[in-house]
Symmetry: C2
Subunit: 390 residues, 2 copies
C-alpha cells in the first residue's frame, strides 16, 4: 500500500475547541490511535489478518491507523468508500455488501485498478450475472460467499446443501475466482452480558470455520475464512483457529452503544458532537441545544438494554465528567432537548456555553458531518474529512 | 427577489429512472408544483402572508415554487440554509431557531446583506448579548420573540408576565427592532384525528394572537404575528384573524407521516428513495435492499399512531401500486430488510430490480442526499441540489 502524507492541519488548527462553530464533530486522534493499536494487538495475538472495516469513520487517516502493522487490506460498505480509499492509496479492498447486480460496471473498474478487490454474494442469480459479465469481458472477479452465522440478516445457511452447491458454482464459473467465505456476527449487538457476546464470538467462528471445512471436504479451495464485528473482537473467543481474517470497524471510534454492551469504556469513545446551549427552560427542567436529529441521528441504539434511553450522553468538554442525570430526551431536525434533574442544575451549562455529546451510534452520527475536528486537551490540532454517499 | 434560471438539466436527464444508480433520491416536480400551489391558495384564502419553511428540501428550486404568488420571504432552520438561499437570490429570511449567542458574527453578516433577516429569541441572556453586540457595531437587528403555544419545545410562556417584559426589553433595546411574535404548533404532529389537528390549529392561532394583543395593550407595536406547521395549515382553523404570516414547510414534499396524520394523501408525496433489491431470503420471507439507515434515516415517525411500523412504505415505480403487506422492518447502515407476506410474493421484486420507498419523514431523509433526481412518468428530467450542514 502506498503511503500518503498526514492530513493537513486546518486553518483553524490550535484554536480552542470552544471557538468551533456548532454543531460539529470532534475526534480525539490519540484515542483512535489507542483503539486501533489494541485491535491490532488482538489480531496478532489471535493469529489472524486484520482487514478493518472503514464504514464508521470513512476517512483515510483513521483507515491508515487501523491497518498499521498489518497487510493493508480494508473492508468497505459502499462503492463510494471503495473509490475514496482506492484514491487514497489502499489497494486491497473487500466490499462487504451483497453485490447489487445493477452495479457491475464499477466492480470491474475497481477490480482492474486495485491489487485486490473482493465482492460478496449470496444469491444464485447474482453469481450468474457476475459470471456472465466477467466472462464477456474476459475478466476474473474475486468472489466471497456470505455465510449466515446466526445473525440472520444476510448470507447463505451453512447447514443447507444448496450453499455448498453455490460455492461450487462460484469456484467452477468462468470469470469468477472463489475467494472463500465471510460472515458477520452482528447479533453480538443484541447481547446483554460479556458472556453472551463471547457465545456469539464462538458461534461466529464455529459456523464459518465449519462451513469452510465442509467446502474443503467437497473439494473446494477456501483461501479466506473471514469474520468480525466490534463486539466479537473486543470480547473474542479463546482462539480463532481456522479463521484467516477479521473485520471489526466501529472500534476505531466506538460509541455509547459499545460502552453499554461492554465492548469498551466511556473513555475509549473517540468521537463526539459539540453543540451550543441555546436556551434554559427552568419550569420544564430542560435545556435546548443546537444539535438535533441532523447532527446526532435518531438511532436509539440498544433498546433491549432497557431503561429510559436518550439520544446520547452529555459529558464535560474534557470528558472527565459525565452528567448521568441529564437526558437527551428528544430530537427534532435542529433542536435537541435535554431534561435535567432540577432547575438549579441548569447552571452547569449557561446559555451560550458549549456541551459535548457522546452519540449512541457513531456510524450513523459521523456520516452526518463533512469534517471531524481533531481535539487534544481542548485544542483543535487538525481535521479529517470523510467520504459519503454511495 | 431576484430571479434565477431554472436548474440545469443533468447529464443523465431523460434517461429511464431504472438506470439511476441506487440508492438515490427521487422528486416528482409536478407534485411539488401542485403541493406548493395548494398551500399558496390556502394562504391567500386565509388572508395571510406565506413565508414557507425551506428546511425539508433545502433547495432553491422548491423554494422558488413555494414563494410563487407571495412576497418572497422564507423561513430557514440553519445559517447554512440562510447563506445558500441568500446566494440564490432570496432576500427576506427568518431564521426560526433560538439564536445561539456564539453565532452573532454571521447574523450581522446576513443582516447587512439581505433586505430583511429576522432572528428568533426567547432567552433574556441572548437578548442582552445581541443588543450589546448590535449597539457596539451601530447596527439594528430585527428580532422576533418565540412564543410557546402548547408544543412545549421552545418559546416563552404567553401567560407569564415576564414574557411581556422580555418583549418590552427587545422593543426598548438600542440595536434591536422588535419585529413581533412567532409560534409553531408542532404538537399537531401528535394528533390522531383531523379534529385534533384542527384543535391545535385554533390553539396555535389563539395563543399567539392573544399574546400579541397583550403586548399591544402594553404599548408595544407588533408588526408580525407568525405561526405555522404543515398539519395546522393543511387542516387549518376556520380563520386566521390577527395572524400576519404562516410558515409551513414539509408540504412541499410531504411524507408518510403526513399521510398518516391526515395532512395529505399518498399521491401528494413528492419525495421517495430508489433502491435495488439485492437478495431474496424465501425461508425468512424477506428481501434485502441497498437502502439502509444512511439512505432512509431511522426516524420511526408517529409512534403514537400504533401498529407495527416500519421505516417507510414500498410503492411501485409509478406510485400506482402500494405493497401494504411488505414491511421495511429493519435498517442497518446500508442494508434494508423488507419482510413480505409469503415466499411467493418475492416475485414482485426480482433480485436486481428497482424498488421505491416513501420515507416516514422526508426532512430527515432528504438531508441524506446531495442530489434529487427529478422524475416524471418514469423519465429523469433534471436534478435539484440541496444545501446541507450548518
Amino acid at each position: 500500500m502506498s503511503e500518503i502524507a498526514d492530513a493537513p492541519v486546518s486553518a483553524g488548527a490550535n484554536q480552542s475547541v470552544d471557538r468551533l462553530k456548532t454543531p460539529c464533530a470532534l475526534v480525539d486522534p490519540r484515542v483512535v490511535e489507542r483503539n486501533t493499536r489494541r485491535m491490532s494487538e488482538t489480531a496478532h495475538r489471535l493469529g489472524v489478518r486484520l482487514r478493518p472495516h472503514v464504514k464508521t469513520h470513512k476517512c483515510l487517516e483513521a483507515g491508515r491507523l487501523q491497518v498499521r502493522g498489518h497487510f493493508g487490506g480494508i473492508t468497505v460498505s459502499t462503492l463510494a468508500e471503495a473509490r475514496f480509499f482506492a484514491e487514497g492509496g489502499f489497494d486491497n479492498i473487500t466490499w462487504a455488501f451483497p453485490l447489487p447486480p445493477d452495479q457491475l460496471d464499477e466492480v470491474f473498474e475497481l477490480s482492474a485498478k486495485l491489487k485486490a478487490f473482493h465482492v460478496l454474494v449470496d444469491q444464485a442469480e447474482t453469481v450468474e450475472a457476475l459470471a456472465r459479465e466477467a466472462s464477456r469481458r474476459g475478466r476474473t472477479i474475486a468472489t466471497l460467499l456470505k455465510v449466515d452465522c446466526g445473525y440472520h440478516r444476510a448470507g447463505v445457511d451453512p447447514a443447507d446443501p444448496a450453499s455448498v452447491r453455490l460455492a461450487a458454482r462460484i469456484a467452477g464459473a468462468e470469470g469468477l475466482r472463489f475467494e472463500g467465505v465471510l460472515t458477520h456476527g452482528g447479533h453480538s449487538y443484541a447481547a446483554k452480558t460479556l458472556d453472551e457476546i463471547r457465545a456469539v464470538s464462538r458461534q461466529e467462528r464455529d459456523e464459518v470455520v465449519g462451513f469452510a471445512q465442509k467446502l474443503r471436504a467437497a473439494g473446494l479451495e477456501v483461501p479466506t475464512v473471514s469474520l468480525g464485528s466490534t463486539p466479537t473482537l473486543c470480547v473474542p473467543a479463546e482462539h480463532l483457529d481456522g479463521v484467516t481474517e477479521v473485520r471489526p470497524g466501529n472500534y476505531a471510534f466506538f460509541d455509547l452503544f459499545q460502552v453499554e454492551i461492554g465492548s469498551c469504556a466511556l473513555e475509549d469513545v473517540a468521537f463526539s458532537v459539540l453543540a451550543t446551549v441555546v436556551a434554559h427552560y427552568p419550569a420544564q427542567r430542560k435545556l435546548m441545544i443546537n444539535a438535533g436529529a441532523l447532527a446526532l441521528s435518531k438511532d436509539l441504539g440498544a433498546d433491549h438494554l432497557g431503561g429510559e434511553r436518550g439520544y446520547g450522553r452529555i459529558v464535560s468538554m474534557d470528558g472527565a465528567e459525565a452528567f448521568p442525570d441529564f437526558r437527551l430526551q428528544s430530537l427534532s431536525q435542529e433542536h435537541g432537548q435535554v431534561t435535567v434533574p432540577s432547575a438549579e442544575s441548569l447552571s452547569a451549562f449557561p446559555v451560550g456555553s458549549k456541551i459535548r455529546i457522546i452519540p449512541n451510534h457513531s456510524c450513523m452520527t459521523a456520516a452526518l458531518f463533512e469534517t471531524y475536528h481533531l481535539v487534544e486537551d481542548g485544542r483543535v490540532t487538525g481535521e479529517w474529512r470523510p467520504t459519503r454517499l454511495w
